[in-house]
Amino acid sequence: MSTTSNEAYEPYYVPEQSKLPIFASIGIFLTVYGMGNILIDMSAGEDHSLGIWILMTGGLVLGFTLFTWFSTVIKENHAKMYSAQMNRSFVWGMSWFILSEVFFFAAFFGALFYVRMFSIDWIAGEGGRGPSDMLWPGFEAAWPLLNTPDMERFPGAHTSMGWFGLPLVNTILLVASSFTVNIAHHGIKEGNRQKLVLWLAITVALGIAFLICQVLEYQHAYDELGLTLNAGIYGTTFYMLTGFHGAHVTLGTFMLAVMLGRAIKGHFRDDDCFGFEAAAWYWHFVDVVWIGLFVFVYILGS
């Protein structure tokens, strides 16, 4: 058929039926259903929960399905079933996904700003929302908030988490890893597989190192600083922000590790390395979030 445009037409691959999504749906459903059961039983004070088994089943189904799913996509790609247009779909898809992640973090950063700039002042009776300090005699607004209004229920932390030390080390690790993953990317572009594998491996190692440091940091916070999830809003925002970030680092590291495996197997060419790039973008995103955390949670928060 004629077209009014000079863009060349490429056939778009539309897969036939697929069993993958339904299994992924079942998997994700069992996963959250199991988690729900565990949490409810936990809060009801029960020692054992059937939820663990449901969660494990769900996790396995989901994990196995996703593995098959991604393998299928890779196979289809290697079978040259995808056009450049198809690749653009993946690129767009990943970019919009990352945008949605940005908004997820925005909600938690927003909560942090709101608390710091408004609500603790309001509790202390300042700033135009009424004399709430009448309810909390002696409460003083400060950040980090070590003395909570209700110390019995939220027993504050003794000390805040400084930015020097582990957090700084972690910043260096993550920033460095953004560079190393970039070098690995150059490796692909130059067709230098050795460079790719080496620098990607270093990146993964940096990611793991970051996670280890974070575990150490959490231990330190719990054992020595009294900084816990239950320590009031400072502990709350601290753990929720760094915790979700940590979860994303874990996922990112896992993705990069998979890419490392694929790189060793000989995947990726200079014009065909979307899987790698997606993982790398994700990694950069995680890195940027950390910079935000480092500034707002650590430096300005201690």
Binding site: Y9, P11, F29, L39, M42, W96, S100, V115, G128, I233
Partner: protein
């Protein structure tokens, strides 16, 4: 149900669908998935509607007669949640699935397997959500807005399942919107520019963006709840330095754009139908696009108009009042454009057109009452009364829901190859139109006179209007069974539809046969008709 009904269509085309129920489970075809979404949404509409009927039955008279207050609250909550997340949103995603690829000449959605995944998560999520009603302690009972600390400190144990159900819906919506955006940006037929796309595609492009931006925020806020409930964090507890109002800010940052998510595609539908039956191009296509974008932008910066009474400082109050009022301007542009499209047209009034015209009138009524709500000091009197309930049902039911019905009547011949029964369609319209007004108009009055929302019982002065309203509810509710009947009848057979179906219809979807072949535009279409597509 849909498997049985749909089976004898479509199959005689190349790459025809597989047979049996597994066709629907494994499908990657945008039309199949669109059908699934639409049927699912209708089922949820009936479920959420039956909850509404429980509410209206209890409110038929003062006093408690049918349900206990505790259960009443569960009904209100589940009604709101199921209608919003189960009925309206999936219906629009279903329409997007069916129409976007056909309107832009794409072979399918950009990521077909993920498309199937987006759908199939939903039945699980809603089964989990609905089943909370049967659990010990009952289902969510804190309103669809689930304000903390009622939800975090006093919610039933099943709140945790509610939270995870919301997570699942969020995942589904985000994947669905990514698919829509990527399809529109990447799969347009060669030569089809953005400013040539039909408005339905435009509105969905913007809606999908809104979804990607705010569904994660919803996920964030339920996650904060989850932490407060199970892990002792203090987001929403002043004792730990948090603030219950923080919940409302985060929720409404999602919640306000959410209401536009439920109306923008409706604008798109109406912008397709009115020109067809007025036999005249859409007036002001470009300004429609800009207006839609402005509404989307404004929707991010007005959220706290739901919170005028929470005790924000004066500056905040004023800012949110002004910003909210601004939304009337682009919305007005849209309304005026539709009116101008009708002006000096050559109109006929088939069922889709009737629904579309009712949409314009009744949505405007709802929008104008919205504007009254936007006036901060006046909202102190309106807030959390039935006046608000009347406002949002006017924009949601004769707004979003009517537009969905208009869309179904309008495109049904294209989907099934058969004309629906016009006489029955008109009957359905008139029953709905009368029912909806009898149902919701009196709620303005009881609201102004002081009846709070979310109450199972009320004082005697409101008795008359509540009775009228309940009668309207049952009239409107049962009329929808007629809709079901009409759709099933049309799917099973009827007068064969032509390709163009409607005399004044323009656009790519009307160039292909009716019913639309299982696969369309495996090669790009001829665009000579496209200049007509947007008007």
């Amino acid at each position: 149900m849909s498997a049985v009904i749909e089976e004898h269509h479509h199959d005689d085309h190349h790459h025809g669908p597989a047979k049996g129920i597994m066709r629907w489970v494994f499908t990657t075809n945008h039309k199949d998935i669109g059908t699934l979404y639409l049927w699912f949404s209708f089922a949820m509409f009936l479920l959420g509607g039956s909850f509404a009927l429980v509410i209206r039955a209890e409110l038929f008279q003062p006093g408690l007669q049918i349900v206990e207050p505790e259960f009443f609250n569960q009904m209100t909550t589940m009604h709101g949640l199921i209608m919003v997340f189960g009925a309206v949103m999936p219906a629009f995603v279903g329409l997007a699935n069916w129409l976007v690829p056909m309107m832009i000449g794409a072979p399918d959605m950009a990521l077909p397997r993920m498309n199937n995944y987006s759908f199939w998560i939903l039945p699980f999520a809603f089964t989990m959500l609905a089943s909370t009603l049967l659990m010990e302690g009952g289902g969510p009972n804190f309103g669809w807005t689930f304000y903390a600390p009622l939800s975090t400190e006093q919610g039933p144990p099943s709140t945790t399942f509610f939270i995870f159900a919301v997570h699942l819906m969020g995942i589904s919506s985000i994947m669905g919107s990514i698919n829509v955006i990527v399809t529109i940006l990447n799969l347009r037929a060669p030569g089809l520019t953005l400013m040539q796309m039909p408005l339905f595609v435009w509105t969905w492009l913007i809606t999908a963006f809104l979804l990607i931006a705010v569904m994660p925020v919803l996920a964030g806020v339920v996650t904060m709840m989850l932490m407060d409930i199970h892990f002792g964090t203090a987001f929403f507890n002043a004792g730990g330095g948090g603030d219950p109002v923080l919940f409302q800010h985060v929720f409404w940052f999602f919640g306000h754009p959410e209401v536009y998510i439920m109306i923008l595609p409706a604008f798109g539908v109406v912008s397709a139908i009115i020109p067809t039956f007025a036999r005249k191009r859409l007036f002001g296509y470009a300004s429609m696009v800009y207006a839609t974008s402005s509404i989307a932008f404004l929707s991010f910066i007005v959220w706290a108009h739901h919170m005028f009474t929470v005790g924000m400082p004066l500056a905040g109050e004023l800012y949110f009042m002004y910003a909210t009022m601004l939304i009337a301007i682009p919305t007005g542009v849209k309304v005026f454009n539709w009116v101008a499209t009708m002006w000096q047209g050559a109109m006929t009034f088939e069922t889709p057109m009737l629904f579309a015209i009712a949409f314009v009138i009744l949505f405007t009524i709802g929008g104008l009452s919205g504007l009254m709500l936007a006036i901060g000091p006046a909202d102190f009197q309106y807030h959390d009364t039935y006046f608000v309930v009347a406002h949002f049902h006017y924009v949601l039911v004769p707004g979003s829901v009517f537009s969905i019905m208009a869309a179904v009547y309008y495109w049904l011949p294209k989907w099934t190859g058969n004309m629906y029964d016009e006489a029955l369609g008109k009957l359905h319209f008139w029953l709905s139109f009368v029912g909806i007004n009898v149902l919701f108009f009196p709620q303005h009055f009881v609201g102004l006179a002081g009846m709070p929302r979310r109450v199972p019982d009320y004082n005697l002065q409101f008795a008359d209007y509540n009775m009228v309203s309940s009668v309207g509810a049952f009239l409107f509710g049962f009329s929808q069974l007629l809709f079901l009947f009409i759709v099933i009848k049309c799917v099973r057979g009827g007068v064969k539809a032509t390709d163009q179906v409607w005399e004044g219809a323009h656009g790519l979807e009307w160039t292909i046969p009716s019913p639309a072949p299982y696969h369309t535009f495996t090669t790009p279409p001829d665009l000579k008709d496209i200049s007509e597509a947007h008007g």
